[in-house]
Structures are given as structure tokens and as C-alpha cells.
Symmetry: D2
């Protein structure tokens, strides 16, 4: 059943808890002969790394990745690639209250209901720290599909959206919010800082685009490209919604508005007049850019007291001390990119398996 694995052919598994000695990923099925070393992975981890601005958690983790297997003389061998990241800056003392009472919005109660007890330190396995393992695995996935270009950005925080007329991809890495609209990025400084000072938190919407995917990746019917992407994105902590292409907005269009008309293109490929479909039809890529939109709820760890119950079922209230992201969607950007890369690498190989 592979509770902690993802992918069909290019497949990765993650392990580790927020406050254990380390976290990691094992990538299985990677093609042989790809040039790789730790320096190819580290930049993606650095992008996700906490403690880089006042808008993210102040936990200081170097997130230094080690390759423990599957690479020989700088190339992948085709055997499992074991990636390990040590946990350095755990402060278990912060979590004493959490051991006793459930934080609403967190997995605390659900874990106790399922397993009978839980590793309460920093959320244990349910901590967003696990996503560092995905980012490391995603860096490997990118090497498998070198012609695919993937980028994500935050398009909305706390209901305040970017202006697409000002969209500038070059801006994304120029501000702490991965925001392509510099005016919105300015507004968000105030917004996020305000939430942080209030001990509150904000939700966000992340958008991800993959271009360079040829027509033909994906498969009917339960391995559809959009179905895999939905599973991948919804598995990220705090994600509550996924849209492909126009998503919910498509439900408000008429058939003729939603059609992506085709005309003969210069290179024998179709020239599409629109991309309402987000690059996927019938679960299979059309050659247009793949577009996914993801909703992150506000961080559940807040300093404002919320009604709850204790493990013994008594009424209590709880605040979540410790160091938390006021808007977990921001650091979701590299995670979304990693999941996109992981799904596409898998689908490329799956396609190659069946169609040669």
C-alpha cells in the first residue's frame, strides 16, 4: 500500500519526523547515467529552507543533504538513491502543551485516534518539515526531464491577489514571497508581518506551470496526469484545493468558451488558441503548458487561543508556541515545484514503458 511512497515508475519514499535525528527520501527507479551530486540538490533545499526572512519560521536548519547510495563517480547507477538531511535545530521543550491537548487544525487528534499515541514534538511525521525530503527527491526528478521547465509562485495571500497584468517571472525570486507582482509583494510585507505580530496566520494560493511537456504523457484512467497531480499536491501539508487549468472557473463557462481551439502550427504541432484545459485532455498532456493551482490554508499553529480538549477529554484552550510560518503557503512554492517534477518524471517513464 506504500503509505509513504509516491510514483509508479520513478518512485520515491520519505521518512522522518520533525524532531528525530534526520529525515530523508529514497528515490527508486531513477534512470542510470544522470550526472548528479549534492550541489545539484542543495539550491532547491535552500529555497525551501526556514529562517531566511521574518516571513517564515525562525527555526534554523542548514538542510544539508547527503547522498548515501545510488550514485557512483558522479552519475546515477539506476539503484535507489538515498538522500538524508539531518535535523539540527530541534527544540523539543517547546512542545510540552501539545503533548497534553490537541491543536485544532492540526493532525494531533486524528493521529491519536488512529494510532493511540503520537510523536508530538513539532508535529512529528505530520510536520511540514517532511517536505524537505520531497524537495530533495524533486531535484533528482528534474534531471530525468531536462527539457521541462517548472516554476511556481504565490498568486494570493490572505485573499489579496496579484495583478496578472503586472506578472513578471523575473520578479519571483526577488522577494521573500515568490511573488511575480512587485506591487503585491510590497503589500504582502505589511499583511504577513501584521498577521505574524497578531500571532495569527494567513492562507495562500500557489500556481505552478510546467512547459516543455510534449503531447502524450499521462494515461487513462486512474493514472491520468491530472489525477496524479491532484494526489501529489493534495498530499502536501495544509493544501485544501487543487485546480487544473481554469479549475472551478471552468464550471462557469459554456462549452464554446471553454474549448481550446486548434490551428495548424509552424512546426507540424497544433497551435492552440487558449489553454483553459491547463495542458491536459483526457488525462494526457496536449503539449500546452501544464497549469496547476493550489490552495494552502492558513498555518494552524497560532498564538491566539483556541478552544480544544485534552487527551483525557477535558475542555482546554491552546496556543501553539514555538517557531512557525505565518503563511505556510510561501514555503510551499518549492514543494509544489518538486511534486510537479516528481509527477512528470514518473509520467515520462510510464509513457516510455508503454509506448516505447
Amino acid at each position: 500500500m506504500s503509505l509513504n511512497s509516491f510514483g509508479r515508475v520513478f518512485r520515491f519514499s520519505t521518512w522522518g519526523e520533525s524532531h528525530g535525528p534526520a529525515i530523508g527520501a529514497v528515490v527508486d527507479g531513477c534512470p542510470p547515467g544522470l550526472a548528479i551530486n549534492e550541489a545539484d540538490i542543495q539550491p532547491f533545499l535552500d529555497k525551501r529552507r526556514p529562517g531566511t526572512s521574518k516571513f517564515t519560521t525562525q527555526r534554523q536548519e542548514p538542510d544539508q543533504v547527503r547522498i548515501l547510495s545510488g550514485v557512483f563517480e558522479g552519475k546515477t547507477t539506476g539503484t535507489p538513491i538515498s538522500l538524508m538531511i539531518e535535523n539540527v535545530d530541534q527544540r523539543s521543550k517547546d512542545y510540552s502543551d501539545v503533548a497534553k491537548a490537541y491543536r485544532p487544525g492540526h493532525a494531533d487528534y486524528a493521529y491519536d485516534a488512529k494510532y493511540g499515541f503520537r510523536d508530538y514534538r513539532g508535529g512529528g511525521r505530520s510536520s511540514a518539515r517532511e517536505t524537505a525530503s520531497r524537495v530533495a527527491a524533486g531535484a533528482v526528478a528534474r534531471l530525468v526531464i531536462p527539457d521541462v521547465d517548472i516554476f511556481a509562485y504565490v498568486s494570493e495571500i490572505g485573499g489579496d491577489a496579484i495583478d496578472y497584468a503586472r506578472f513578471d517571472a523575473a520578479q519571483i525570486d526577488e522577494n521573500p514571497f515568490f511573488c511575480p507582482d512587485p506591487i503585491a509583494a510590497k503589500r504582502w510585507e505589511t499583511l504577513v508581518d501584521g498577521a505574524r505580530k497578531d500571532g495569527s496566520s494567513l492562507g495562500a494560493v500557489v500556481e505552478c506551470v510546467a512547459s516543455g511537456v510534449p503531447a502524450g504523457w499521462g494515461a487513462p484512467l486512474y493514472a491520468k496526469l491530472d489525477s496524479e497531480l491532484a494526489a501529489a499536491m493534495m498530499s502536501i501539508n495544509a493544501v485544501k484545493g487543487v485546480e487544473i487549468g481554469d479549475g472551478f472557473a471552468a464550471a462557469r463557462l459554456r462549452g464554446e468558451q471553454n474549448a481550446d481551439p486548434m490551428r495548424p502550427g509552424p512546426d507540424g504541432l497544433p497551435l492552440f488558441g487558449a489553454n483553459h484545459a491547463g495542458g491536459i485532455a483526457g488525462g494526457i498532456s496536449t503539449g500546452q503548458p501544464i497549469k496547476v493551482r493550489i490552495a494552502f490554508k492558513p498555518t494552524s499553529s497560532i498564538l491566539i487561543p483556541v478552544d480544544t480538549i485534552t487527551r483525557e477529554g477535558e475542555a482546554a484552550d491552546i496556543i501553539t508556541k514555538g517557531r512557525h510560518d505565518p503563511c505556510v503557503g510561501i514555503r510551499g512554492v518549492p514543494v509544489v515545484e518538486a511534486m510537479m517534477a516528481l509527477v512528470l518524471a514518473d509520467q515520462m517513464m510510464l509513457h516510455r514503458a508503454q509506448c516505447g
Copy 2:
């Protein structure tokens, strides 16, 4: 890789094309000893059946299911349950144009790009007809989780939403739209009929609720209940978006607004003050109702000409003759319910495997 299977423990596979001799599902891993016969499955198929009102396709299919294996003396034996539905009312002649040119919004071009050719009759494998197999499998799944109550309804068609103040579950089966708001249902008659007469089509939003799910189903991290539901729903034809609980609206809330506060309840279980999370935290059920929202795009088969290209890459325009749903989301309701049942039956068994 199981391209056409879904589920981990309670697992089903579907096969069949729109215009082949039959379609079907094989359900594997079903618990033994459950009382079942064709009459337990048929009502769900009847609910999805085409040709029952002028708001759905006029194709006439009795959708009579046969159980070919896995049941002995009226009880499941624990071996695979093979379910077959014969195709009766195929009219292959309607699809001659489709053989030559690609219908925008359909899988035609993507299938050709992937496989080199396609069964163009009625969309072949990409036809929504496949969902009848899911509905049959879903009827079996319901027997596995008898204490779970599942229902879905249409909450919006063509951008016209129900008024939740008028929500009446008893109304859902009283109109051809599975609409819980009788006033909206009236409006939709005009709306859908208008689109049909225009040769156009409309999108829709379907909502699904499962109550009676105990806390503890689901699993970290890539087998999360919400991740499985997202994959399940996104695998349905024409679906472009999935939300759990508040979904994208959660991205606009602050942490303290989005928390679902807990208080001690009368029976030792928590009493939740809200259900923004849609019954799932950390990928595991909380005991609250599971809530999912699904966006269906407008049917791509329309009578309004759209620019396209032929298989040879020439410019053309195309209209889709034949018999089609003006709003495919309507008949999506029993399919969404089936997928919910299939995911939950699987998760119940998965939970039992690990936690006894």
C-alpha cells in the same frame, strides 16, 4: 502501474469503450460474506443512466449489470467480483467526422499523440460511459462500509448557485438535477434547456458529503485520505478542480477563523465547533463529515463549430453531432458518490490492516 485500477486494499479495475460490446469492472479484495446481488447495484446505475430526462443525453442504455464472479449463494466470497454491462445503443455512424478531426476539449488529439491512433467511436475509452463501471463498483464498496452515509448533489450550474439557506436533502432526488434547492432547480430547467437548444453546454459544481466515518481513517503521507479523494475525483471525466472542506476559501481565512474548535462531547468524542477542514486533518479523518467539492467543466461535445485541425494537420472546424449531455456534471453526481464510497471502503480496510 495499474493504469486502469484504483485503490490499495479494496481495489477495482475498469475496462471497456463507449462503442465496444460491453464495459465492466473487476472488484478485488472485497471482504467475504457480504450479502449482494444485481438488485443491490442496479439502483445506482439507474441513477446515472442516460436518457431519463431532456437534460441528459438521449442515448438509451438499460445499463443492466451482471455479476460474473465472486458471489456465491448471494454472498461475496472474497474473490474478484466481475461486473459487466453490455453496450446496447451504440450508433457508430454518428462519429465519422471525429475520426478525421480533433474535437477541442476532448481527448482526441492527446490520444492520437500518445498511442498513434484511437478508437474514435463515442470517445472510446475516454467516454464518460466508463463511469457506469465505477458506479457499479461503488455499489459494492457501500456494502463494505454500511455505517457510512454518502450523498452528493449539484450546487451550481453555469455559475448559478443554490441558496444554502434553502438546502433540503429530501429535494435532491425530486428533480432531474440532483439539486437540494427547489428554486434553483426551477431556474436550471430554463438554463440547461437553453444551453441544449443553443447546441452549447454548461459546467457544474458537485458537492459530496460522507457522514459516519469514524476518526482514524487515512494515513500519512502519500496515502492521505484527502490525497486519495483528490485523485479519485480528478480521475472522473470533465473534472477540473477538487476542494476538501473550505478548499480555496480557506486560503482567504486567518488561522483563528479556519480552526475547528473542539469541546468535550456527550459521548466521549470531541464536539467540533466548525468543519472548515472537511473532516480531514493531517490526511486522517477526524470523525466530522467528509466534505468534497468538485468542478465539472462544460461538456466538450457541442453543436457550435470550433476551430480545429485534422489528423493530417489541416485547418478545419468541427461540431460534435450525436447525443450528449448539455451538462455532464449532473450525471456526475452518482459517479462522485461512487468514488467517495470506493475511497472510503479502501481506507477502512487499510486502517484495519495497520491498526487492527
Copy 3:
């Protein structure tokens, strides 16, 4: 978990019971564009078909296969291929005793212990009749690997082995035992007929060779080619042992005897001086013929009374009336060939997925 499926990329599932209306297989992941029709499958089923000589069961089954999906205009489409074989000559009345008491050597007791009850007619799901579905699926698999030549034969019945000095592949289809040694085949007539008249049964050894497999198929470590073959063969009814290459005899060799020395060959490939390894090293094919040896126990259905207990736990004795193979290993030959084809088709595609 896919209890009734096999394969990773080229994947098939079977369903059906001995005395239900039909049995069948669904083949998923098949490459598109392969020419196929029922006539390509039927000869393999005919080879396995009961009632063709007095040395096999007298049940008369035409075993006519129907392709219900996945093929369009005579070519595979890449979607699931549903294959169905109707059961024609069931005689359920033969099995009344079996309903009450357990046949030693059969699955009766184990099924009851697991599921609480069982379809006792002809062994239900545990009947060797299921292997017809595998043979049908195997015929499809052969199309995926057209350059691989697969054949199997019986090398031993009831302890009486062929003389390899007389091995003649052309003889295999010239006698009812798939025996490559015509002298042994003559002896076996008397041997098997004697066992049949005694109401007893005999075991057999089947050997299978696949040539034309290039070096490089298979994978470490739990997808090893030999591991997959062992699972495939051991899943066949009545199989109790599997050997690759020299098998148990290798355990009696010294390292230098067991080595398969290599010399440069005429075409740039190695020329091997022996094939103790059976064509597999480290779980990966070496380019030599793949060799597997399979032990079939004697048919458990015999007319000689055996001590047993009833469902209520009372002492009883039982004989198995009905029509049975005196040596089930004989009809195992086309099943073993089918499993070889199914494993190799899968491994070819798996290799293509990872290594391009």
C-alpha cells in the same frame, strides 16, 4: 494489494470461478498498435483445453475467447484488453460431498478458515480452470516480445524422467504429454493410464526455456527477473517448487564448476561456455536462454478415499468424484509458457521505462 493481479507495467488481472457463468482476464498497460484478434489467442487456449485425450480431464469446454475491449480495427489501443471465456460444461451436482467435507491437498479447508465459507463447485476460485485466463493473457504478452521464443515441455512424470540425449523439440507437440522424448512419451501412456484407472494421480516436472531475451532485462532487487519468475510459477495451481538454471543441483557444485565462462563472441556479445545460471545473473538477463524448472504435485482430486473432517469437525473419508486430470502437470505446460511470456513482456517494458 491486487490479490488477483500480476505484473508491474504489463499487468493482468483474472477473475472467475470454475462453475460460474464465465472466467476472464483484463490486460492493462499493453502497448498500442499490436495486431491482434481472437484467432491469435485461441491456439494457446486449445493447447490447454480439457477433454482432448484420455490423459486429461473429460470436462468438455470449448474455451472460446472473446475480446471485449482494448482492440480497435484489429489493433491494441493501449487501453485495457478484457478477455472473457464462458463456462459451458459445468456439472455442479458432482460436488455435493465437497460441500460437506474437506478434500486433503485441496484449498477447501484453507478457504473456509479464511473466508468463513466457499464456492465449493469445482473448487471455485481455486480451480485450475482459472489458468485458462492466464493462457489468454499470455497470448497477448507474446505479441509484446515478438523476438522471444518460449516453449515448455514435461520432463518427468511420476518420477520417470526423459532422457535428454533423446531430446527433440519437434516431438513436444506430437504426443499428449508435451514430451520431447518419444520413448518416454510411450512409457507415460501406460503410467498415466494406470494411475487414472487406479483412481490415483501423478506429479510432474515441467521445464520452460525462453530464448531471444537480450541482456539487461530484470532489476535489482525485489523485481529481479528470477524473483518474478518464481512468484509467477509458484502462483500456478499445484506447483510446489521452482528452479532457475541448475536450481538445487547448483547447491552441489563448486564455484569453478558453476561459473559460466565467457569468451568473445562473433557479434560483439559474449559467448558463454555454459548456462548453469539459467540466463540470469544478479536478477538481470545475461542474453543466454532463460531456463526454469517447475514441480507439479499430483492432482489432489482422486478416487481413493482419504481421511478427512467435515465442516462440523467430524471424522469422515472423502473421494473426489467428477472429471479430473490424472496428472495436472501436463496441462500445466501452456500455463507455464504463458506465465513466462507475461513476466518477460512486463520486464521488457520495465526495462524500457528505466533505461529508455
Copy 4:
């Protein structure tokens, strides 16, 4: 496809090469609440550990296991258990010849044919060192099925078999061969030492028995208990044959000889008169002890020169310097036990999933 994972519900993956920094296993799906720490795993690793007698390789590896995740306050949490063993005594210089030419019987040529190159140090991923990871995972599996007793032993080395009349389980741990017959153990000292001094190697047969398995574990048809065991055992390095119960000897019995007659037993369970079936009928356990027999070929690493070719295809001869087991089957004993435990833990959970 999970090339390096095994199991359906209780599932483990291994990673690592002979001469990399470490090897390890990730166990996924383990039930929560089981008491465990490193000291529960270490004795099994110590049993497999090299360098403990002159009859095994002289490589000195402490094989100290670390638990990196999935355990909190001494109990399994239900999340992945990451187990790591550092490689300490690598001597990469020993393997320079191996880089240039292929060792017959080894995976060298097959790996190069598949992947284009290979980590030649100590066999890389194909080294038997990987089995330490299995032994660690197997120690966890044993905790899941505490009522099952598993033991294995060597029954034959180099064709010299034990005398079953002298079988004494208490002797197994009293000699360096895991031999239950003290007289045979004495003979093997001379035998194995002779092979070692000759620079040669010997094959072996290992037998494994699991008692305490209740009737009902296992499943039709491709998840049969015997099929899973065959795959598990055949995945171990150097294994070339697997038998369940009487195995190939059953092929020489008549039906009435091979039947395991049943009589009412004292506790409501059947009392079996024999166990030819090895505790499995129809792929499902019968309540009798599970019996498996496994053939290990002689170690391919020998000091006697063998004809081979270089990577460039030139004729050469090769001897394998370095430190090797003269009989790899001996250290196979704890590995076989581990695989038995891993299969049974998985099957128990699989049974619980379906049958409650």
C-alpha cells in the same frame, strides 16, 4: 514498480551499496504501539555479521543499526521506520580487476548491459551486503507476529546433507554452520575449510520453518502465500531454487501419498497426518508449520581463474581477490528467516484488512 521494495501492507525498501557510506531499510506500514529499540534488532544482525568464523568472509563490519524515524518513546508510531547501518570496513582497492573484466556468475556483465556502467566496488548494489538491511527489517517484522516462531538451518553443504534422524534444533546455534546435526557440522568444518583453502566455494541448502501461523493467511491468486515466499526467497543473492513442503519430491508421489489426511483434533482444529504441503493449500495457510527449502549456489567469488571477457570484449581470465564467504548459504540463514518474517507479517496484515 518499486524495484527495491517488497510487501503489500507491511512493506520495506532497501537502499545502499557494498562500498558506499551506508546501507539501510525503510519499513512502511508497521502497526503502531510495538515496543522496539536498536537492541531488538542487533542480535539478528550479529547472527548475519561477517568475520565471526573462518568459514565466512573476513570483512569486519560491526553492523551497528540506528533507528532514524518511526519510533517514539520506545514504541513504533505507525510511520516509516528508517534503519541505517554504516559501512565501516570497505577496501575499495581490492576491486580494481573487477572494474575491467566481468566475473562469471556475478552480476557484473548483466549490470553493464542494463545500465551502461556499474559501481564495481564489492559488487555495488548486487553485493550480499544488502541482505543486512533485510535482516534489520525482518527483526521489525517479527514484532508484528509475536506468536509465530521462525527458524532456519543449513541442511546440506556441497552435496553433503544432514541426517534428519539426528536433527536437534538446539544444535543450530552451537556451530558456525547453523547445522542441526552435530556430526554433519563436524564434517562441514573440513569440507568448507578445504574449499576455502582451494580458493573455491560450495553451495548449500537452507530450510526454514514457521510455526504458529494460523489457518487463513495468504490469498488467491497472485498473492498466494507460497508465491510471495518464492519471490522473497528467490530475491536473495545466490538463490537458485525454492521448494514449498515436499517441493520437487512431491512430483514423484502419487495423489494418495501426497495427501495430508485430516482427523478431528483436540482443540476443534484439524489434526493433520502429514505435512507434504508445507502448511499451504491453495495459497493459504492451513495451520500446519510453513516449510520452505532454498538452494544457494556456490559463491561466485573464487580464487580459481575463470575465462571471461573485459568491458572492451577482449578475452581474459579473472580471479576474485578480496574477502569472501566460501559458502554464502551459511550466512543466508538469518536472511531466509528475515524474509519469512517479512512475508508473514505482511500476510497477517493483508488478511486482517480483508477478513477483519
